[in-house]
């Protein structure tokens, strides 16, 4: 027996899930479990009460609005996204999700879980910030919209607080997107990643794995020198570990930012 003792419920509705999350001490939402169950094994997290979201079918929808806005339910798995015709409206999403871990994890891991876990090495937090996504967070008091750049608050911390649920991620129309990462093995954990989007004037570039939250940069142009300058001016102080020194991550941040912007620029037209 690896996990600490825990209670479990499988509510049939979002309202019931919210009630349990807000009323029960130490309650935590269980989405795909591809992070949470592992951290529970390691006792890095020990919730007292798990609220399993698997029956909340309304959180599994993928919708493409007439204005091109793509809405992803929080319980959409990476594999759901990969097989969705609607999700191809923003191709970078499928391209990035296809490189997360392996088939088994992609079949079960969810987009909502990826952003709510907010592990600094996750793929989707920087991507969602670059794409200008909006997160719909609900609590017993109602619903609010949080821009992605305000959603990620710290390591493993997001604006979806205790008693709240992320229900939906809304992504505006666009196609000038790029993503680049250096990973530990093919499709492994990111050492540094960078996402970029150029759908207005200057690009939005977001670096992951270098700070507690994704770092949003707005270079003056998509030119390589401008992007490198923006990364340098951010005075990143990335963590060091046995995979990479702080200096190496800083160097990767520049290189990957340029690559992501180049890809975005090529696709813009």
């Amino acid at each position: 027996m690896l996990l600490r003792k825990v209670e479990y419920a499988r509510p049939p509705s979002v309202q019931e899930a919210l009630r349990l999350l807000s009323e029960r001490d130490g309650a935590r939402a269980l989405a795909g479990g591809q992070t949470l169950i592992n951290v529970m094994k390691a006792r890095a997290a020990s919730p007292d009460f798990l609220v399993d979201l698997q029956d909340l079918d309304e959180l599994r929808e993928i919708e493409l609005g007439s204005d091109g806005t793509l809405e992803l339910g929080a319980m959409v798995t990476y594999s759901d996204l990969l097989s969705s015709a609607e999700a191809r409206a923003r191709p970078i999403l499928g391209e990035v999700c296809a490189t997360i871990a392996d088939v088994q994890v992609r079949n079960r891991g969810t987009v909502g879980g990826n952003v709510c876990a907010n592990d600094p090495t996750n793929h989707l937090p920087p991507l969602m910030v670059a794409l200008g996504a909006t997160m719909t967070v609900v609590g017993t008091g109602g619903e609010r919209q949080v821009p992605a750049e305000e959603f990620f608050l710290g390591v493993y911390m997001t604006a979806a607080g205790p008693g709240e649920l992320l229900t939906k991620i809304s992504i505006p129309a666009g196609k000038g997107d790029g993503f680049a990462a250096v990973t530990i093995g093919k499709d492994g954990t990111c050492i540094v990643n960078a996402a970029a989007s150029i759908d207005g004037g200057a690009p939005r570039v977001v670096i992951g794995c270098v700070d507690a939250v994704p770092v949003l940069l707005q270079p003056q142009s998509a030119e390589g020198d401008a992007v490198r300058t923006a990364v340098r001016d951010a005075k990143l102080d990335p963590p060091a570990d046995f995979h990479a020194s702080s200096d190496y991550r800083r160097t990767l941040a520049e290189v990957l930012a340029v690559r992501a912007v180049q890809q975005a620029q090529e696709r813009k037209s």
Binding site: M1, L3, N38
Partner: protein, 150 residues
């Protein structure tokens, strides 16, 4: 909590603790030890099963979550003692040495071939990316899967 699951065509009802992992439930409660535990951290894929039609790792699901689920394990592949094509191909191509990863490899290969009758080598390699083998170097596993592709 009482759960009811269908495993390889047989329905089981059992009392489980919420903290019990599905792989432990299969092996220790149902005595279906064909599904292996290699790492218990979600990396190795030896515990792979087909769960409501999709391939997953059973060490990253709680048994209580599986209430109502339909599960296929390596033990259900062969019918009446007759190995499936992919099982025979693993034997013919020497796609196992110690055999520890084989239950998971077979489930990944089975899931792949259900959705894609003629995968490319790249698709085969990506399909078994979540399954670690420390003996074969994967070459014979890929050959075995290729040999049963249409």
């Amino acid at each position: 909590m009482t759960i009811s699951v269908e495993v390889d065509g047989t329905r089981y009802e059992r009392e489980v603790d919420a903290r019990r992992l599905l792989v432990h439930f299969l092996r220790d409660d149902l005595n279906l030890t064909g599904t292996h535990i290699g790492c218990d951290t979600g990396n190795c894929g030896a515990c792979s099963i087909i769960y409501n039609g999709t391939l997953i790792k059973s060490c990253m699901v709680l048994a209580v979550q599986a209430d109502g689920a339909r599960i296929e394990t390596v033990e259900g592949l062969a019918e009446e003692g007759e190995l499936t094509d992919i099982q025979q191909a693993f034997s013919a191509h020497h796609a196992l040495q110690c055999g520890y990863c084989t239950p998971g490899m077979l489930m990944s290969a089975t899931a792949l071939l259900r959705g894609n009758k003629s995968p490319s080598e790249e698709e085969i390699r990506r399909a078994i990316q979540g399954n670690i083998c420390r003996c074969t170097g994967y070459v014979n596993i890929v050959e075995a899967i290729k040999s049963v592709s249409a």
